[in-house]
């Protein structure tokens, strides 16, 4: 019998192991039913942008909000904040983040990963990186299409708005990183993580943001809103809504807090995975 050679001694480190888990997981994640479903969801803003573009073409006066003409950049900014950052990014975070390990447990493939000479936290980290790349790849085309459809309306200029597009994409990536890490912790520590995640994203966060005080610092959205650079149309319902969020931290404070949130929640999630027993149903 021919014996296979044995790999050199010395277990791969945490990041190296995470990279290998990432390689294994990315393809699975990209072509999962979840990605197909959420890809369809990401078509929603594109449809809306298409409708706006058609309306702007048909009605030369452009889109008015409370009688005030809204430029393409402002509408794009609203869509980034209201549709992407406040809805799509948390949805992606909840659905992928809570299932990073749960999917492997449900599919009973976790055994293959947990019986390898790598820390269990590397499995979580690798799958988290795969989630980030996967979701960015899902969001990117949607945002780009919305940008090219919406910005030219209302006398907007693509060239002038392009730098803000890059900033918006960076902001969305940061949002995905933060929500993904928070929901990875929820997924590894709590029962019914999906329900709790949805309650956090669409119950706790919007409610707490409406009230003054310190509670809003226990949200991800509070720090993300400081990164929104778009100017919103004035004297409108949207601008009134935005007034509620006026109390925002500085960009540097937000970035620092978001980095702490990502680091801390991932560390805690990693600890939970290391300690927890996963009993597969027969």
């Amino acid at each position: 019998m021919t014996q296979p050679a044995r790999p050199a001694e010395g277990a791969p480190g945490l990041l190296s192991s995470a990279g290998r888990v990432f390689d294994l997981s990315l393809g699975q994640m990209l072509w999962s039913r979840r990605s197909v479903f959420l890809g369809v969801l990401l078509g929603g803003p594109v449809l809306l942008a298409s409708a706006l573009r058609i309306a702007a073409t048909l009605y030369a006066s452009g889109l008015k909000i409370n009688g005030v003409q809204a430029g393409g950049s402002a509408i794009f900014g609203m869509m980034i904040w209201l549709l992407y950052l406040r809805f799509i990014v948390p949805v992606l975070g909840v659905f992928y983040g809570t299932s990073l390990i749960a999917d492997e447990v449900d599919d009973k493939t976790i055994t293959y990963l947990f019986t390898r000479p790598i820390p269990r936290s590397a499995v979580l980290l690798g799958k988290y990186f795969a989630y980030l790349v996967c979701t960015v790849l899902l969001v990117l085309p949607s945002v780009m299409l919305v940008f090219f459809l919406v910005v030219p309306t209302g006398q907007g200029a693509i060239a002038g708005a392009f730098p803000s597009l890059v900033a918006d994409l960076g902001m969305l990536a940061i949002g995905l990183a933060a929500y993904g890490a928070v929901f990875a912790l929820v997924g590894t520590t709590l029962r019914r993580p999906l329900v709790l995640g949805l309650v956090f994203a669409f119950g706790w966060e919007p409610a707490v943001l409406l009230f003054p005080g310190y509670l809003k610092r226990l949200t991800v959205a509070y720090y993300l809103q400081a990164l929104v650079r778009h100017e919103m149309p004035q004297d409108s319902a949207v601008s009134m809504l935005m007034q509620v969020f006026r109390e925002v931290p500085t960009v540097s404070t937000s970035l620092l807090c978001l980095a702490v949130i990502v680091g801390l929640t991932l560390w805690l999630a990693g600890r939970a995975v290391e300690e927890r027993e996963y009993v597969l149903e027969q």
């Binding site: 390898r116 000479p117 027993e277």
Partner: protein, 309 residues
């Protein structure tokens, strides 16, 4: 415990809430091939999961290859595990999947590919290496699971129901491979609920039921152990009532019952019973004795016997 022992458990218990999975098990698994036998729900899977570090002991201690296994990932370098569940990344090809898993053992891309290729060759899946696992038959899926377990050349191979779903030819080849692996000085722990499968691989077995080890050691030693317990003999004859009267005249006969054309006897001293029976058959005193069988003549009965006791 000796230096070459594969697994040592001392007062090992595992509870799932109120349910006992394994109950105060103390056992040593020696080098070589050991079969773990037990019916579904006996505690085999719990023991396998403890030995592979997927579960943490509730009580007692467990060492694998001389080291505790729980939260000791470095030890997986020396262990290959083929789980029972039929679970895969179905979109990957067999070669991609085994390569990806071997990479987790620290192999470089090139080495991992070569090792995966060799492992697939060992399980005779080279021709299907580039097919998606989702298109594999049940037997092929079992074999690709074996490949991922042995690809990194482990010192200890742990196989949970490895022959399930295999066709007879693949089964025979896999048994031969496992025996070769043992002959090459590797440790193998293989579980099954079918005794003849285990018997074809090894004489060294552990019998487990209801979370306890019922017996351990060589098959022959276990047979001796069985001989201390009531032994059932099925005698098909013309004059079963006359034979029954004859049997009841001896104190080693513990009970008997009639079946169609046969009498089933339970004896405490099988050797003495068989000697008398042979004499009766030779004399023809109570008519012809057509067939004498004992469910204890095969390992399945040995196992069932111990499980019932």
């Amino acid at each position: 415990m000796t230096a070459g022992d594969l697994v040592t458990a001392e007062h090992l218990s595992k509870w799932y809430g109120q349910v006992i999975g394994l109950n105060d098990v103390s056992v040593t698994v020696p080098a070589g091939i050991t079969g773990l036998l037990g019916p579904n729900g006996a505690g085999k899977s719990t023991l396998m999961k403890l030995v592979t570090g997927q579960l943490k002991p509730s009580k007692g201690s467990l060492t694998v290859l001389g080291e505790p296994i729980w939260r000791n990932p470095a030890l997986y370098r020396r262990i290959g595990f083929c789980p029972e569940q039929d679970a895969f990344y179905d979109r990957m090809t067999g070669l991609e999947w085994v390569t990806a898993l071997v990479r987790l053992n620290g192999a470089t891309d090139a080495l991992a590919g070569a090792m995966a290729g060799r492992a697939l060759e060992m399980v005779e899946l080279t021709d299907a290496a580039h097919k998606k696992i989702g298109a594999y038959s049940k037997g092929m899926r079992q074999r690709v699971k074996m490949a991922q377990a042995l690809a990194h050349d482990p010192d200890l191979l742990i196989l949970d129901e490895p022959l399930a779903g295999m066709d007879p030819i693949a089964r025979r080849k896999t048994i031969r491979m496992i025996k070769d692996w043992g002959r090459a000085g590797k440790g193998v722990i293989v579980s099954s609920h079918i005794l003849h499968e285990i018997e074809s691989m090894t004489a060294n077995i552990l019998l487990i039921n209801q979370g306890r080890i019922l017996a351990e050691g060589n098959v022959h030693q276990i047979r001796d152990l069985i001989d201390e317990h009531p032994h059932t003999v099925h005698v098909r004859a013309d004059q079963t009532r006359a034979l029954a009267r004859e049997f009841l005249g001896h104190d080693d006969v513990l009970s008997l019952k009639f079946e169609e054309g046969a009498v089933v006897v339970q004896t405490g001293r099988p050797d003495a019973f068989y000697t008398r029976l042979t004499d009766l058959a030779a004399s023809g005193e109570h008519g012809a004795i057509h067939e004498v069988t004992s469910p204890d003549d095969n390992l399945q009965a040995v196992f069932q016997y111990l499980v019932k006791s």
